[in-house]
Subunit: 254 residues, 2 copies
Amino acid sequence: MTGRLTVVGLGPGPERWITPAASAALDAATDVVGYGPYLARLPAKPGRVLHASDNRVELERAQHALTLAAEGRAVVVASGGDPGVFAMAAAVFEAIEAGPAAWRALEVVVEPGVTAMLAAAARLGAPLGHDFAAVSLSDNLKPWDVVLKRLRLASEADFVLALYNVASRARPHRLAEAFAALGEIRAAETPVVFARAVGRPDEAITICRLDEAAGMVADMATLVIVGSSQTRVIERPVGPAVYTPRSYGVGHEV
Amino acid sequence: MTGRLTVVGLGPGPERWITPAASAALDAATDVVGYGPYLARLPAKPGRVLHASDNRVELERAQHALTLAAEGRAVVVASGGDPGVFAMAAAVFEAIEAGPAAWRALEVVVEPGVTAMLAAAARLGAPLGHDFAAVSLSDNLKPWDVVLKRLRLASEADFVLALYNVASRARPHRLAEAFAALGEIRAAETPVVFARAVGRPDEAITICRLDEAAGMVADMATLVIVGSSQTRVIERPVGPAVYTPRSYGVGHEV
């Protein structure tokens, strides 16, 4: 019996954003390993075992999934968003590299998904319509001075920024420090979007200026997008849209 | 009669990566506007009009779609990948901002999708598992010196890079120039992936080193990923995997 491991992304929440490939992998699984709230979204299915874990134990979760797959099970690791963006896929390959040789012989498939920044951008208009960078503000996984250095260089490059993992109970002022670093280079009126729980019933979207952003509230479900020098807000009767034009530093076509 | 416009992403190609939300929008459309090869993927449907165009006329295509929606039609603009990443959503909002006031009153919905870098990353392992930047190498839309400046700053920040629009008939040496700029900062052995037509029958994946990358062939269907200093290749009996660990500059957990 040959086991296999599929790492799937469930997207930001609603079923309408889960790819058919991810759904098919979940249907075919004997075991699903993941963070509890993600597994709670799945319908009960006879014969399918759900292995729920805390969100702090990504590596242990990956090792558990690989152990089950090596035993011959059809295992799915369920991740939020896209599994390759600040999510479970990297943890699985870290575990494979450090683990027993048998894990390298396993068939491992990663199924892409809709990551939070794409859903947030779609909800707003097209803020990621030009070059952009995605940065996790978590300092569990890298020193905070690396984060600040990256934000400054990304600002100098005039990338739009998608900021993941912006909330920290241990360091509540971290996001304000990030905005201060960006504000050294980027204009005070730069549009900033707080996109919380996009696509879910508790969705909340706030658009503000960079010099107001430090006063806004962000939690674990919030993704922040900081515009480039070109990002624009269009006021409309149906609500504002935020977008970044495709062209940069050349004559606009319109 | 109130028209509406939905901008959907068809993903990189296969149906299994098209979200149910995008499929539902296509099913409900009276008119679908898009680049010819994308529309050719759609099944014929009585009463649904397909408006195929060349891939060079994004703004005209957006204006055409908005005109149809303003006439009361249920219009879908079909984009490859995710519509918000180097695709049609930004062109639609450029057209809205510059167009007649009536276009601002239209209901416009953007449906996110699987963009090429996520599909390529999934196919490889997890190369985007840490901070990364997405850069279009097209110099139709920005000066080439802006591209080179961004690549240098992104290298200094040690971002993984996802490079879109890497092929240019007019300037075939552009990609080699980009690799040369990156090679000034990033190590010669940095992993580089050429991911062509991921998920389609003509898929081709090549992994090489940065100092070999200039000799590789890339076409319009190729996305290139350039690793950071941390990106690793794992040799496996089932084929190599490329991934970037979640942590940076702190003790690895494994």
